[in-house]
Symmetry: C2
Subunit: 444 residues, 2 copies
């Protein structure tokens, strides 16, 4: 398996990518750059910078949204952290992997060190996403269920594959890069709700670069590290479906299944937020009209986001109660609705206490069934089959731009934001992908 995948990665060219795959790759990049800039003023980024500055190598690569420069591995880490802080990045719904974080962080930093054309950049991004998502498919859901943060454990393969591609590794060296990547999984679900969650895609990016750089110098690994008896899949999961890794390489693309979040929280809450906003807008609801809100949800929703009384903004993202409350009050669930202030707002607290969520095994994870009982006795009902931002109801390019502008607001000027968005949309025509990172640095 490892060899088949490595051979594909070595041979795959930009010219082979179908137009829809290229387009989705560009959208993936666009969405990721926005969230990475958006997170750049947050504590996890500041603390990472303070911790790592004394040890960084040459100032090879930019931090998105900031003026400091670090060596490519530390820059990739910090950008990876930044892009996941708001939990607002892209999602491969089949595995709940956030694909861009580990891969884009790695290749964007690398492209400032080593010349990479926009076309090669996009190819590496698509191949990295392909690698991590296919490996994720092979072990999901068992691997995730037991406790691994699949973005970090699979993401390291994506980073190694993409950097290995940009380094032009031979098949054997690509096998070693994947083997060294297999040796460095990152992240446990227990850390959700702390800064450790955004640590994971960042560290996966670094580890993948580290693996590929060593392999490029003939630092060896074993040949079947993904599939062998004592290899990654057998060690880290009770399910191994290797066809997911090798079947249809170059024919079906996991990149096409990538989605972007309209709301700044875990995807399992999106149907409930979507329902709340739709009912709010349709019936012009205000909090004082609402007697109670009843949700029927998939069990995972309560497991992941069952926090009843969040105390800080980050905890709010793991609270379906808070999320429904702000959606009903503001008609939105962006970063502003998940500030520390927002979770302590008395109006929000009062409304979230009226929200009840009941597990219903008949409800799929992407669905919700919401009933709002008004004080006047009316019952309003909304069943969401697929939320906005899902594959079935994707965000439009325009919606991605609006999201992007909201994230860069206060960090980049409107003019700079326009330039940065244009470079993302036009990545394929850039002589050097480093132009994207450069445009993400605030001027003056």
């Amino acid at each position: 398996m490892t060899h088949i995948l490595a051979k594909y990665l070595v041979d795959a060219r930009y010219e082979d990518l179908p137009a829809n795959v290229r387009k989705e790759g560009v959208r993936t990049l666009m969405n990721w750059v926005g969230v990475a800039v958006g997170g750049s003023r947050e504590d996890p980024v500041k603390r990472s910078i303070a911790a790592l500055r004394p040890f960084s190598g040459p100032p090879q690569a930019s931090l998105l949204g900031r003026t400091e420069r670090f060596d490519i591995m530390n820059a990739a880490f910090i950008n990876g952290v930044s892009s996941h802080i708001f939990d607002y990045d892209d999602t491969h719904l089949k595995t709940i992997i956030h694909p861009a974080g580990p891969v884009a962080s790695a290749i964007l930093a690398f492209s400032e060190y080593h010349p990479v054309s926009g076309k090669d950049f996009l190819n590496a991004l698509v191949l990295g996403v392909e690698t991590e998502c296919r490996i994720g498919n092979a072990v999901y859901p068992n691997h995730y269920d037991v406790g691994w943060h699949i973005t970090g454990t699979c993401g390291v393969f994506g980073s190694a594959a993409a950097i290995g591609k940009l380094l032009g590794l031979s098949e054997q060296r690509m096998v070693w890069a994947l083997g060294l990547a297999a040796s460095q999984p990152v992240g446990l679900r227990e850390s959700f709700g702390s800064m450790n969650k955004s640590f994971n895609p960042g560290r996966a990016a670094t580890n993948g670069i580290f693996a590929a750089l060593l392999a490029a110098q003939d630092y060896t690994s074993s040949d079947g590290m993904i599939e062998a008896k004592r290899g990654w899949a057998n060690t880290i999961s009770t399910k191994q479906d290797y066809r997911e890794i090798t079947e249809g390489l170059g024919q079906r693309y996991e990149s096409l299944l990538n989605t972007y979040k309209p709301f700044a929280c875990g995807i399992v809450i999106h149907p409930a937020i979507d329902a709340a906003i739709q009912l709010r807008n349709q019936y012009h609801l205000t909090p004082d009209m609402i007697a109670r809100v009843d949700l029927r949800v998939h069990p995972l929703v309560i497991e992941l986001t069952g926090k009843k009384t969040p105390q800080i903004g980050l905890e709010g993202k793991f609270s379906i109660y808070h999320s429904v409350a702000v959606a009903l009050i503001d008609g939105a669930a962006g970063e502003k609705q998940y500030s520390d202030q927002a979770v302590r707002d008395p109006r929000t607290v009062a409304l979230r206490e009226k929200v009840t969520a009941t597990i219903d095994p008949a409800i799929q994870p992407q669905q919700v069934d919401m009933t709002i009982t008004l004080k006047d006795g009316r019952k309003l009902h909304k069943f969401i089959e697929h939320a906005i931002g899902s594959q079935e109801v994707p965000m439009t390019d325009q919606q991605l731009e609006t999201k992007f502008e909201g994230l860069t607001d206060g960090i980049l000027s409107q003019a700079a934001t326009r330039v940065l968005m244009d470079r993302c949309w036009q990545v394929e025509s850039l002589p050097s992908a480093a132009a994207i990172a450069q445009a993400a640095v605030p001027q003056g």
Copy 2:
């Protein structure tokens, strides 16, 4: 559990260490420095240097046995690799963890960046070893059996704990350091036989430093990352015995169970080598006197080391026949006896063909029964109950020095070797532990 362990680590002082624990800590250090210098000219070290040099931070820390300097995290990685290349480092037999690699690599590099007294250094070493071995006990053997390289997965906790101690972290920050460590396990058994094996203790050292540095800047993790439902132990093992982590902290020390290899090969051949050297020395044997050598061994010995005609040095380590032959000829089985040249030496080849090994289920893995038949008809017999280097028959300090000298031969002068060994023995009186690293750098 994580909090109990963190509190212990924060409170534990050098002055609390019993004399025998201090002594074993010094022996652990001594053995580790020797193997780290010994590996410093091997390909995995050279290739790591080539790969990482363009990205290293300031030249903060030495590479043992070399003149290059790297930032502390890259230096810790490379020294950790170097110390495990020969598979000649220390072993905590209860878990098969090689304890020093992840911990000593980290704290020695750190001590060149941040002032650390010899006493604090030794305390951190003991605490790091305690942390990784106790966590290892909690999940061994299931965790190892499924495929994890336990030195890398538990070693990261040892490194984080030791660096956290040297940074003077509060209990809360130590909890976060352990949590970020839990997020970065390293190593799969599938990689054994490749350079990836020595990668693992090195990367564990780096990851532990990374975790502690971030925690020191209030980069948070969750509070129960070792024991919580989706935490490390439940995710990574089917066995969790948390008493191993928390019972008798500061009373019983896993450090006391550490052992050192007298011979540069897998531990299952050690009884046979011990028997051969004892008979050789007792009867002043030379190869021309020997008609045949008959061994009765546990089945595992043949399974693991049954290679009859090794062609390269590394294969010699998996040949009980070669090992017995060199032991009879040289009275030793160090790295020199496992060179490519050594396995092709005609005298060795001739003698190894006279060695026969027979499986005897009555023989334990740690035992051997050897009969040497001389050409004059005499039969010499030796039964080994516990080989030299076991916990029951530990290597003497003098034997550790002989091993050390063999490893540094050709890298450091005899005078420099003496200075380095003395600094190790006298670590507790050093004003700065950095003096050890400095003495391990070749002069001129």
